[in-house]
């Protein structure tokens, strides 16, 4: 019990003094997950729109598949990307393994299904009369899409926030393809909040773990507050 309390006190110190190691890890986590979220947004929003407004065979099954992949295990994504970019893998020549780029790719793949699925839900949540109104006002196909997106903007932002939340809190993929490396330069290190917590805890370095945990929670809380605000619009 005493150790835990001591851990909290130490953790508070680490945060309050802006401990350079802790801050670097937090910053890296945010950069990696934020980049992954941007990449996933650029793919999932057009993809979601195409699926939502397209009519093709197997549309229902595709949406079912996407929803199943919401709970895609992070280590499976990690393994998949590992196999693709490892030395012997098809993209091995790009030497991406154990780089932040690898983590970004893995997290992008990880959150694509949930973001695409939530985008589809956001678009199908738009009142059908809105669609009819846009058509009857003489919208072209593109004008129609842009305006439907505008109507669904808060729900789509929600999808983005959920995607970021899942990316920053996952550990399985980051550790498999990132490797939890603390190198001399910031850009070639791959230690993130989650991988660092798992390492520090196993090394008995509880105060650092707690400090990193508090920061991770604070980020998650911030994302949640953002979601709540969006929902109340």
């Amino acid at each position: 019990m005493y150790e835990i309390i001591e851990g909290f006190i130490e953790a508070t110190k680490l945060i309050a003094t802006f401990d350079p190691d802790v801050m670097a890890i937090a910053a890296r986590s945010i950069i990696v997950s934020f980049t992954a979220t941007i990449a996933a947004t650029l793919i999932s929003v057009p993809l979601g729109a195409a699926i939502s407004f397209g009519s093709f065979r197997g549309k229902k099954s595709l949406i079912n598949l996407i929803q199943t992949l919401y709970s895609l295990p992070t280590v499976i994504v990690g393994l998949l990307i590992f196999l693709l970019i490892s030395r012997v893998g098809p993209f091995g020549f790009m030497r991406l393994l154990f780089t932040p780029t690898a983590m970004i790719i893995a997290q992008t793949v990880l959150i694509l299904p949930i973001m695409t699925g939530l985008t589809i839900a956001a678009l199908s949540g738009v009142d059908p009369v809105i669609r009819d109104t846009l058509y009857s006002l003489g919208a072209t196909r593109l004008q129609f899409l842009v305006n439907i997106m505008k109507e669904a903007r808060f729900a789509i932002l929600m999808a983005v926030a959920v995607g970021f939340g899942r990316a920053i809190s996952e550990v399985g993929a980051a550790i498999l393809v990132g490797g939890n490396i603390m190198a001399s330069s910031f850009a070639s290190s791959t230690r993130t909040l989650t991988t660092a917590i798992s390492l520090e805890t196993s090394m008995g370095n509880i105060p650092t773990s707690i400090a990193l945990g508090i920061i991770l929670l604070a980020i998650a809380l911030g994302v949640n507050l953002a979601i709540t605000r969006i929902q109340h619009r």
Binding site: D127, V129, I130, D132, T133, L134, Y135, S136, L137, G138, A139, T140, Q143, N147, K150, E151
Partner: protein, 358 residues
């Protein structure tokens, strides 16, 4: 201008329209009236290219609109539509109304001018910066109307535009419909289940029943000479009595359960018909009232019910069949009638409209 030929629509196994045929002239106000579920909305949606018919043709200005998809956008841009339950874009009133103009590439200065003008027309001047979702139902419907007319369409389609609205908004919208039609020559097609609204606004009405137009004509024709028993009931003819045509000294009469009623009809003896008599054409006199005007149908009966209705009373008399008249309160007092009173009911043969029973 708008020509519907045998237009049919079914959704899966549900048949909504079976064969709608009508011609709506340019510059006309045409009301589609009919009971709920008769297919009014579906017909308007087909005209606005929001749905595809399963049969028949709709031509606008000679173009078969559903068979020339490459002209779809141009055709759609000729029309504006107001929906029964309007949907607001989640932004300001200004942006809501500007949408159609933006689609057409109108410049911002011109948009500002037009939005201001149209807001004034719908009685919402100064509402530009309000959030559209905070408006009341009546205000929102006026914004929806503004949104549709700001693009100055050739054809304005309105699906039950005043259903469930407050009387102020209804009056404003009705007034605006007449004005747009008069000032701009806009062809207006609207649906309503309120037959009096059809009468107030429309040059012609089409009575849509069971997926077809049971009758198309001027409001006066439809109200005084309904084409069938069903139309008569829908347009509010209170007395509809079934009988059979008989021949009586060369002039025609109808036998209603042993009672002869003189009425003009084009039908031959033996034909099963229904008699439609408007209650305001029926007079009630005391049983000893002496001679009624010659030539009128005179029936004796017993007052079965007196029900107040606004400033009038609805008096139902049992003459072997039930017949209902509308009298002022004063008239009821003067006649000194109450339930059970013996009275004489009379109406002219010209007041009887005879339709064939299906």
């Amino acid at each position: 201008m708008i020509e519907c030929v045998d237009v049919a629509k079914r959704f899966g196994s549900t048949v909504v329209l079976t064969g709608v045929t009508a011609r709506i002239e340019a510059g006309e106000i045409f009301a589609v009236i009919g009971p709920s579920g008769s297919g009014k909305s579906t017909l308007l949606r087909l005209i606005d290219l929001l749905d595809t018919p399963t049969g028949g043709t709709i031509r606008i200005g000679g173009t078969d609109i559903h068979r020339e998809p490459e002209r779809g956008l141009a055709v759609r841009r000729m029309m504006g539509m107001v929906f029964q339950k309007p949907a607001a874009f989640n932004t300001t009133v200004y942006e809501n109304i500007a949408v159609g103009l933006r689609f057409r590439g109108v410049g911002e200065a011109a948009i500002r001018e037009k939005v201001k003008e149209v807001l004034r027309m719908v009685g919402l001047a100064g509402y530009e910066e309000r959030r559209a979702r905070t408006l009341s139902g009546g205000e929102m419907q006026r914004v929806a109307l503004a949104r549709a007319i700001v693009i100055e369409p050739d054809i304005l389609l309105m699906d039950e535009p005043t259903a469930n609205l407050d009387p102020v908004s209804v009056a404003l919208i009705e007034d605006l419909v007449l004005r747009i039609n008069r000032d701009r020559g806009t062809t207006i097609v609207f649906s309503t289940h309120d037959m009096y609204q059809g009468q107030r606004l429309a040059h012609r009405v089409g009575v849509l029943m069971k997926g077809v137009f049971a009758q198309v004509g001027s409001p006066r024709e439809v109200f005084t000479l309904p084409a069938s028993r069903e139309v008569a009931r829908f347009v509010g003819v209170e007395n509809i009595v079934d009988g059979v045509v008989v021949s009586e000294n060369g002039s025609s009469a109808v036998d209603v359960g042993g009672i002869r009623i003189r009425a003009r009809s084009p039908f031959g003896a033996g034909e099963a018909v229904a008699l439609c008599i408007r209650s305001e054409d029926i007079r009630i006199a005391p049983a000893d009232g002496g001679a009624a005007a010659p030539g009128r149908n005179v029936l004796s009966g017993t007052v079965a019910a007196i029900v107040p209705r606004g400033p009038f009373s609805r008096v139902t008399v049992d003459c072997g069949f039930m017949i209902t008249s509308i009298l002022s309160w004063k008239k009821v007092d003067d006649l000194d009638i109450r339930e059970g009173s013996q009275v004489e009911v009379s109406f002219a043969p010209e007041s009887v409209h005879v339709v064939r029973r299906e």
